[in-house]
């Protein structure tokens, strides 16, 4: 009754091609964004630190991987490595160059990650599918090993960890351990919104169409004149850029300090992969929903037994969590292999007709 495009006539091409052509969508998105900015007013420090900031960082990474996998069709398990490149580059830039604006540093470190992504994307010209997935594991293991071994990357400090130095933006401390969670939350949120908007526009333009053509059948795409080299490498570059920025935010705005383990296969690469599969391949909104799901489920599983008064040992609980998480993944893939994005589409169709059956 309230959600329908009937009567919304477009009189310009611009209006017809808008990101959200339906008026109600536009209003809903604006409301969600406003609500997201209002979250620090109600949430306490634990919620911001443990859930919201983590969610924002991973959502950004999921968008990055979805560009590469969902749109350009190149399977990658090296997300963690590209995020690590972003984090370490940002650490080097901020600690070695005095007075560098931290936002500029984060964007530059995204650029470093993009360069590394291009290098490891080169084999994608010859290798496809699962072979490529395993080949990207080379990036994952090699880069983390490099960051562990070469002291230059962590300024030779004895602990081997990188710690985000305190940096200010507009006079407010936004990074480092003493920055308020509210400020860090706002920074991450702004990054996510800006990057999601950019990605949304990128994938519906010429570049996005090229990616999708390559994904659907690369030989056919090549025949109709799409250059596979540039298109694939661009996908790797932009995807790694997103992952790099997310990695920098991960250290600077979420964890504060970390070792290479924070970026390993299980902690980052597989989690982000789950996010985009459960959220929906080839959907920006789906990446964000998937990130929310994967971030929330373990937190819920950890907090649920104490809430209902069950007292079980930590080891038992850890294993139970693993099992339940696995069951949920399998169940979800069986019920809806196309993810939340598809569920959202079905819901929209239903909403348009509601309350009438046809």
């Amino acid at each position: 009754m309230f959600y329908r495009e009937a009567g919304q006539f477009k009189t310009t091409y611009q209006g017809d091609q808008a990101v959200f052509p339906v008026f109600q969508d536009k209003v809903a998105v604006i409301l969600v964004i406003l609500a997201a900015y209002a979250v620090p007013l109600v949430a306490d420090e634990y919620w911001l630190q443990a859930i919201f900031i983590q969610f924002l960082v991973f959502a950004l990474m999921a968008i990055g991987l979805n560009i590469l996998m969902g749109y350009a069709g190149q399977v990658s398990l090296g997300t963690g490595a590209f995020a690590a490149v972003g984090a370490y580059a940002c650490y080097k830039l901020t600690t070695n160059i005095e007075g560098m604006n931290v936002i500029v540093a984060i964007l530059l470190s995204g650029g470093c990650a993009a360069a590394v992504g291009v290098v490891f994307g080169l084999p994608s010209l010859r290798i496809k599918g699962f072979y490529l997935a395993v080949a990207t594991l080379a990036a994952q293991f090699f880069i983390l090993w490099l960051f562990n071994k070469v002291g230059w990357f962590y300024n030779n400090n004895p602990s081997g960890t990188i710690t985000a130095p305190p940096r200010e933006l507009f006079g407010v401390l936004i990074t480092g351990p003493s920055a308020s969670p509210e400020a860090r939350y706002i920074v991450c949120l702004t990054f996510l919104i800006a990057f999601a908007w950019f990605a949304k526009n990128l994938v519906r333009g010429r570049i996005g169409r090229n990616w999708m053509a390559i994904r659907d059948m690369d030989i056919a795409a090549e025949i109709i004149g799409i250059r596979p080299l540039q298109t694939k490498l661009l996908a790797f570059a932009i995807s790694s850029f997103y992952c790099g920025v997310a990695g920098a935010l991960m250290i600077f705005c979420w964890l504060g300090s970390a070792e290479t383990e924070a970026f390993d296969l299980a902690n980052v690469s597989f989690r982000v992969l789950f996010m985009i599969i459960i959220g929906g391949l080839g959907s920006i909104g789906g990446s964000i929903m998937g990130a929310a799901f994967i971030v929330l489920v373990p937190i819920f599983l950890t907090n649920f037994p104490p809430m209902v008064g069950l007292d079980i040992s930590t080891a038992l609980q850890k294993h139970l969590e693993e099992i339940i998480f696995g069951v949920m993944i399998v169940f979800f893939l069986i019920v809806e292999p196309e993810g939340f994005a598809r569920l959202w589409q079905i819901l929209r169709e239903k909403l348009r007709k509601w309350p009438f059956p046809y």
Partner: protein, 313 residues
Amino acid sequence: MEFLESILVTPFIEIWESPYYFIELVLVGLSTGVLYSLVALGFVLIFKASGMFNFAQGAMVLFSALTLVGLMEHGVPLWAALILTVATMVGLAFLVERFMLRHLVNQEGLILFMATIGLNFILEGTGQLMWGSDVKRLEIGIPDQPFDILGGKILLNTFDVTAAFIGALLVVSLAVFFQKTPMGRALRAVADDHQAALSVGIPLKTIWIAVWTIAGIVALVAGIVWGAKSGVQFSLSLIALKALPVLILGGFTSVPGAIVGGLIIGVGEKVAEGFWGPALGGAIENWFAYMLALAFLVFRPQGLFGEKIIERV
């Protein structure tokens, strides 16, 4: 310049000067390689029979070894524990078919892959939930004594030789099974196309149970050999990650590929660690296998023995 020399020149001089150390490393590498091949075999089997990249193979190795050791700790004799473990793996195959594969017929490879990662979590959790997560010793009576060959210049281990022998036996029987039996032929058909196989009357259900059972038994053999070598513990499931470069090097669809790939990776890894490791700062085993496999792949995208990839529009 000095760094380049330490990578490009010194190791070769060292190899020339100490050939026996080199040969010993190669032999150690070969014996590790056989173990990698055992794990990779499980992957290849399931990939050939269902087009599924089964990430849970490592967890299956852990799960089967844990079950075996757990049973033996409760006083079950070895032969009975073996039979019970095999029965467990058959049961697992049934469950996987009933609750997972049946609902995922004709899905994309990526979805199947993710489902097996889910299965991986379930198996790791269940195995440790039932049998605890401490390191367990596995004593099954494989002799473990060093002996000399070439007049005492090279040390070998009876254990490694036995493991290599078991691996070879398994491979030969599997190769015969795939190439010579009706079941093997049906398996290959299923790998090509689920729906087409169904439509010519191949019972998909039976095939899947059969192949997951075989993969489970291969996992058990791998688990026994690895477990007897280094104890049964959680890190067993991580050898799946070691088997992946073996897979892409040999080709996903090739049983001989898994063997040759395993041997190449095993030898390459040990020799690289022995001669190049010091110059590069050590612990290069983790990524070296992947880099080696990547280098091979650039020249042969389907792996050494994989079926030629033919692309049509």
